[in-house]
């Protein structure tokens, strides 16, 4: 059981380091409270977004926390892919540049798994292969419209 955990931990940690560097332009890694006996403690995320000195996770900004959390989720995914991922407004704290960065990473990960991403942000919508439009007229039911963006046709 410990070997299985160690193998998973090492793999996810490697993934986390490279994904965090790409998303947050900084250094981050996973750290066990007790590396001799992992089950005796917990798992910490050590994050230096943009090369800032280490600080407790709680003092990070909203955007920094989002990118750190998403780096962890993607790190798990690369180790044990699920067939689909459903994200609901995970970009709500991100500034425009970071939405762009996140959407490029999702494009990349979407080669291996299906991504269904609810978003109101333009860089995310523009990076997707297609958009499903959802509306609800007053007093009526939700209506769903498929909008296929012909990516190859536009600039």
């Amino acid at each position: 059981r410990r070997t299985a955990f160690q193998e998973a931990f090492v793999a996810v940690n490697e993934n986390f380091q490279s994904i965090f560097a790409e998303l947050s332009d900084g250094d981050g890694y996973l750290q066990l409270d007790d590396s001799q006996d992992p089950f005796n403690g917990g798992l910490n995320l050590v994050a230096h977004p943009k090369g800032k000195p280490v600080r407790r996770l709680a003092s990070m900004s909203g955007g920094e926390k989002s990118l750190t959390a998403l780096s962890f989720i993607f790190a798990l995914q690369r180790y044990r892919p699920s067939p689909f991922y459903a994200f609901d407004e995970v970009d709500m704290f991100l500034d425009g540049a970071n939405v762009e960065r996140l959407s490029k990473m999702i494009q990349q990960q979407a080669q291996q798994a299906q991504f269904i991403v609810v978003s109101l942000r333009r860089p995310m919508i523009e990076s997707a292969e297609r958009t499903i439009g959802v509306t609800q007229a007053r007093g009526a039911y939700t209506q769903v419209l498929g909008i296929n963006l012909a990516k190859s046709a536009s600039s």
Binding site: D33, F84, F87, V90, I125, T131, I132, Q136
Partner: protein, 225 residues
């Protein structure tokens, strides 16, 4: 493997039966506030039994039934069916304890037109005929009871019925056959879909990984190992 479509009948803000087709790769869902985007994700969680009612922003399961017809005097129901394209997965993963060998899961030909429909005739068959093939459920998969062929589709359905008094029943089906929630979860696990999995991140939850305690975070890795 990916979700090909989700069909929602009477689920939350969706009245009637709505077909949401999905493709592999990167799809965005967008639209105005309150239009029903998050409800689509709730319908997936509902169908696959992956969340409690509170995890779908409902105080109790009956709140999930579309409530536009307020004072009804008959039993109301909501049905959600998720269809997966499994043409690229290892047939070994389709082991079904109840019905070996694997390919039987899809091929028994127990379509709803053959016997009294499990979904209740009063709904008509529009819900199950999303593919416009009357009653031939398993023919969607290109084979009718012939073992040894690769199955194309894998379908999960959940139906919730609520009486006027407010009591309710919930039933699960795999490819039209009744199953228990445990059986569904076992099969989902083989496909790497878990209730505590991080493949679904709901609105407002993305930073929960940061605020959870260290032990809970380590247990996420335990689960995957």
């Amino acid at each position: 493997m990916h979700v090909k479509r989700v069909e929602l009948s009477n689920f939350k803000s969706f009245g009637g039966t709505t077909d949401v087709p999905l493709l592999p790769g990167f799809t965005v869902i967008s639209g105005p506030n309150g239009s029903g985007k998050s409800n689509i994700l709730d319908s997936l969680l509902f169908c696959l039994g992956l969340a409690s009612s509170k995890g779908m922003r409902a105080e109790r399961l009956p709140d999930l039934v579309n409530q536009n017809q307020a004072k009804r005097r008959t039993t109301a129901e909501t049905i959600v069916t998720a269809t997966f394209d499994i043409s690229d997965i290892d047939p070994e993963l389709l082991r079904d304890e109840a019905n070996d060998p694997p390919a039987q899961v899809d091929g028994s030909g127990d379509g709803c037109a053959d016997r009294s429909c499990k979904f209740g005739v009063q709904n008509g068959h529009s819900h199950l005929n999303g593919n416009r093939q009357n009653g031939q459920l398993s023919s969607q998969n290109g084979q009718n009871g012939q073992s040894g062929h690769l199955a194309q589709d894998w379908r999960v359905t959940r139906r919730l019925r609520v009486t006027p008094q407010g009591t309710y029943t919930s039933n699960y089906y795999i490819n039209g056959e009744p199953c228990t929630l445990n059986q569904l979860h076992e099969q989902l696990q083989r496909f790497r879909i878990y209730p505590e999995g991080y493949n679904v991140v709901l609105q407002g939850d993305v930073t929960s990984i940061i605020s959870m305690n260290a032990r809970e975070r380590r247990e996420i890795i335990d689960e995957l190992a």
